[in-house]
Symmetry: C2
Subunit: 483 residues, 2 copies
């Protein structure tokens, strides 16, 4: 079942009609819509998890947590818009004595308009139909049209029914939410004149193709894509010396979590040469669970990615089997190893993301070599360092910060907290923009500023009226003022 | 004199080397750099104005004001970074009792890296070598390489000397500022691997070509372009009835200001049919000053643009001469008129920006016709309405807001205040991004977020340390806290 271009046009036209109504709705009304969707999904959690498990084989424990995360995310955005800072209201009163005289000027953010959201294969709830992109767009008053992922189509259709019905019953305008299926409809969606921005989570190849459509429009639109990430980890000599087994265990847990299909999976690990860390990992990974991969396509690609790495003369197999029938038997963990020198010579080959339960241990001889090697690591969502308290790692932290959007200390990157401070983004190809797709600040992606000059009080948006009827934080004549 | 590609590479490599040093500098240090540049330019104002006048013929009064605006802008950004909100510091403390447990997470904005700035022809100071793009990039710690505009090359070279020397003496790192000339160097600059973002002010054709280079890089970078703007004005029946002459005078003053070469020039004016406003404008424009245009190329294009409009059967000449030798004699004001019906039929032809002292009066029969016509107006930097207090103009304001980044009431769009609330941007082609190129929030274009997870206090940037050593506003556990 795929959406025809006629059906697509009807959906985007309806979204364009809904946009001004949604923009005019109060924050309290929109917060109500989000909470209604969250409640509806929680009510249907068991049914949804069953469909999702049959399509993705992710297991009910993981999926249950993901539903909770998804509904929590919807409720977080209800809180974010209620708090009101997201409107970035700024008021500069007139200054007739200035040279030249300054007029009264007041700035606020308005919703962009209909947003296209491309769902991901690996998070059927949290990065899909009612995931973070959808929640943040609806929150600020943008209608959403989701492109369903073919890996969990039945779930997507059922989710769309529930989301649509919940929005309608909560009073959202018709056209506020729609769903399309099929690659042709997806491409057309990005080029559709009524679409004003795109949120995307997926592969580098797929994301870049859609980015190119968005950028080559007559009127280019922002494309917020999360594409691919190798997520480097650095282990210092001190850390390996003192906690080798613990680190090996943590690493194995992280790179095999969700059968290695997290966008924050640690794909490469810089380890000090000759410290025996490979053996510790080989021991830990022995018996670690693999499992079925999300789709046959991903399962077919997994051993291919391993073989491509092993074709390089500098790459060795530490643990696991290069030859796997991951389609029929599921994937089993594979650990590879190489040297920092080889990585610096052939970064394109050795630092390409392999989706699935595998990681590459890269041995380095000195901090200088480590820093030189980190400079060739592609932009990533996360970068992690494990060090001892008395080690001087400022240089390493600085190098990691340049390559990633989140820097972790003494932890593992899988697991992305949904809160105000989260940043899930990073230098290309981690993301195609400077924004996050997780956490409160994700809402800013779907808003644009408008300044009102010398506007009569009654024509100003409530956020900008003199007596602050919304009771929100604002900057007034340069000073941040709390309500 | 044009920059060779070898020279360009040396400049961008030096900028890349300066970037981490500038990023590590304190806000107070960078504020000092900006103030040093402002002081230096003020000291040399007379000399600079003389060079600028000889190259642009804009006149010393206007240029004097522009220098003051430019140095004021540099000082505003010094204030902005001193205040500290621009860092968008967010702290979420750990919550071990949450499911799953939440780690300590702290987010702050870091500078992107070297920025390319393309200067404009029409503002040799405020949107050029040391203009808003340069000031906002330097403020947040990004080195800048300016592409000089050929229309004021001598000024650009002298400005670059002064800016470079002031930065060096104030302690900024070598490589913090550079200047290139020539189209080839400009194109190469946008594609240069060390460049992380581009600021641009200029034409739709030139800007789009550079946007396309930025978007087609292996690693696409943000392109903050201000391209072109028709700046619609709406006059209601009530306003024209009561203040026809005053409005005509105001309009003529605005569309002829700077010989019609402002990006916010009112290019089209919607006027009620049969209210005699054309006559009032014809009377006001009689004897209004024209003047020399900025460059021969602009002067050659001006009568061509007028003729192209007059070739349309629905366009009439209200005042002025279609045939002009603007290259040798300067440009004289031209007023044209057409109908809203014609504009809706041929928006591509009738609503194209003509740079220079001309405006197009568009007569409308009803508010419905006005609203339908506003829907085809291209994205603009500004939109203006003149109405009487007792008129209901909510619908008009809403339509204008959708097409522009700044909505003005009872004023004229030329004149852009530099302050916290300003927004100088709008839907494409007004800008290629959701950002402003004027005012405090312009700084956000050159920053990207980084989140620190479970970081030891000593490894956190000062903005995120527990005791808030910078004394800046921060969001802590969801609550905005003032210092």
């Amino acid at each position: 079942m795929t959406t025809t271009l006629d059906e697509l046009r009807r959906l985007t036209a309806a979204a364009a009609k809904a946009a001004p109504i949604a923009a005019a709705a109060s924050d309290a009304e929109r917060a109500g819509w989000l909470r209604a969707v969250a409640d509806r999904l929680d009510e249907h959690a068991d049914e949804l998890i069953e469909i999702a498990d049959s399509e993705t084989r992710l297991g009910s424990t993981r999926l249950k947590g993901e539903v909770a995360r998804t509904t929590g995310q919807l409720r977080l955005f209800a809180d974010v818009i209620t708090e009101g800072s997201y409107l970035e209201a700024i008021i500069d009163h007139a200054d007739p004595s200035a040279t030249p005289p300054k007029p009264d000027l007041r700035r606020v953010l308005h919703p962009l308009g209909p947003v296209a959201v491309f769902s991901a294969s690996n998070f059927p709830f949290a990065f899909s139909v009612a995931g973070g992109d959808t929640a943040s767009a609806l929150a600020v008053g943008c209608p959403v049209i989701v492109k369903a992922h073919s890996g969990h189509l039945a779930l997507s259709l059922r989710m769309a029914e529930l989301v649509g019905a919940a929005l309608e019953e909560a009073g959202a305008p018709a056209g506020m939410f729609g769903l399309v299926t099929g690659r042709e409809a997806g491409n057309a969606l990005v080029g559709d004149p009524d679409i004003t921005a795109v949120g995307f989570t997926g592969s580098v190849a797929g994301g870049r193709a859609l980015f190119d459509i968005a950028a080559s429009r007559l009127d280019p639109i922002p494309f917020y894509g999360e594409l691919g990430s190798i997520n480097p980890v650095v282990l210092t000599a001190g850390a390996v010396e003192r906690r080798s087994d613990e680190l090996a265990k943590g690493l194995v847990g992280s790179f095999t979590l969700g059968v290695g299909q997290f966008c924050t999976k640690p794909g490469v690990v810089f380890v000090p040469s000759g410290a025996g860390f490979e053996d510790a990992v080989a021991q830990s990974v022995d018996g670690a669970a693999g499992g079925p991969l999300l789709t046959d396509r991903i399962a077919e690609a997994f051993p291919g990615g391993i073989r491509r790495l092993l074709d390089d003369e500098a790459v060795r197999l530490v643990s696991g089997a290069a030859e796997q029938d991951a389609v029929n038997d599921g994937a089993t963990p594979v650990v590879l190893a190489t040297t920092a020198a080889a990585v610096r010579e052939r970064p394109e080959t050795l630092l390409e993301e392999v989706f699935g339960p595998t990681t590459l241990l890269i041995s380095y001889d000195s901090e200088d070599e480590l820093l030189a090697s980190l400079a060739v690591v592609p932009g990533s969502l996360t970068a992690t360092v494990h060090a001892e308290d008395d080690e001087e790692v400022e240089g390493i932290v600085d190098a990691l910060r340049r390559r990633a959007g989140r820097v972790l200390f003494a932890g593992w990157p899988t697991g992305v907290a949904v809160n105000w401070a989260q940043h899930h983004g990073g230098p290309y190809p981690a993301t195609t923009s400077l924004y996050t797709s997780v956490g409160a600040t994700a809402a800013r992606r779907f808003q644009r500023p408008v300044a009102y000059q010398s506007a009569p009080e009654r024509l100003l948006p409530p956020a900008l009226r003199e007596d602050n009827p919304l009771g929100i934080p604002r900057r007034v004549d340069g000073i941040l003022v709390l309500p």
